[in-house]
Subunit: 176 residues, 2 copies
């Protein structure tokens, strides 16, 4: 039984705008070898932003999963060169729901799908919210802001279909 | 603002053993069009298996994220033709940790990364555990079983780097 391995070969199959796809060959320290399919992704952030009454969620079309009205945390990809995850989180909170936060706390950083993808999501708790004017960006056009009552958090958790949002709302329930 | 869209073109880039990769073009009902990169995945299950003292986790090498000792729920891909998710969950629990369960409860079904991938994970709670002889399968060779004390669940949650495991352990903490 061993957790040690080394990559002995790598072939890039696709280099897209967001993802890359590779086939890699690994050798384990027991001498066995195996091929693996990998998706490279820049990573993302998600924000659990709440005040005394609401947690602020968004709805947007998600073509990949064929769901038009998926409820999610405000979130975004780590796609700005040199921007740290907390900076991306602050920017996305403004862009997606038009709010700034006084207090930021890191909640969890986790891989969405450890078997084949290196996407890591960094989750933050944002409180002390104030309204700010969001910049005019294209990506907001299809985003609907949902102020979800904290008194009904169990229903949001029960209906949640998105991993980062589920982690964030479960953690929020524990803290309330 | 709209959640309606249709796929108007699709190009397969890669058809691997586990994943497929496509570039699709979408039209929204406001007339705008956009290209999206997609990863197709068969889906997976994860099992929160516990008795009065322990939750049973596994460690195995995860080449995609470069981590040799990631702590995870027993889990597996929906890769057997015609097998329903609960059937896969029961099979994986035997294969990975050598246990059967008397009671099974569906906890959550969620998408790991809604922006670009259709992988859906079905999580179950398994209790009333008994030891059974696991079949001799290749995949177990590098899996280490970890009986994690329920009294130390907060530490497992704090150190967790895997989305399905984090969802499962957060839900377990709520129920204990």
């Amino acid at each position: 039984m061993s957790a040690d391995f080394e990559r002995i070969a790598s072939r890039t199959i696709y280099d897209g705008r967001i993802i890359t796809v590779r086939e890699d060959r690994f050798r384990y320290d027991d001498g066995e070898e195996a091929d693996r399919e990998f998706v490279g992704h820049p990573g993302a952030v998600g924000v659990v932003a709440h005040d005394d009454e609401h947690v602020y969620l968004v709805r947007q079309p998600r073509e990949a999963v064929g769901i038009g009205d998926l409820l999610e945390l405000p979130a975004g990809k780590l796609d700005e060169e040199g921007e740290a995850p907390l900076g991306t989180a602050k920017r996305e909170l403004v862009e997606e729901i038009g709010k700034a936060a006084e207090t930021w706390e890191h909640l969890h950083s986790f891989f969405t799908s450890v078997g084949f993808c290196d996407e890591e999501v960094h989750l933050y708790l944002a409180t002390g919210l104030t309204d700010v004017e969001p910049p005019d960006t294209e990506e907001d056009e299809r985003i609907e802001i949902v102020a979800w009552p904290l008194s009904d958090l169990d229903a949001a958790i029960a209906g949640c279909r998105d991993s980062k949002t589920l982690v964030g709302l479960l953690e929020l329930r524990h803290r309330l």
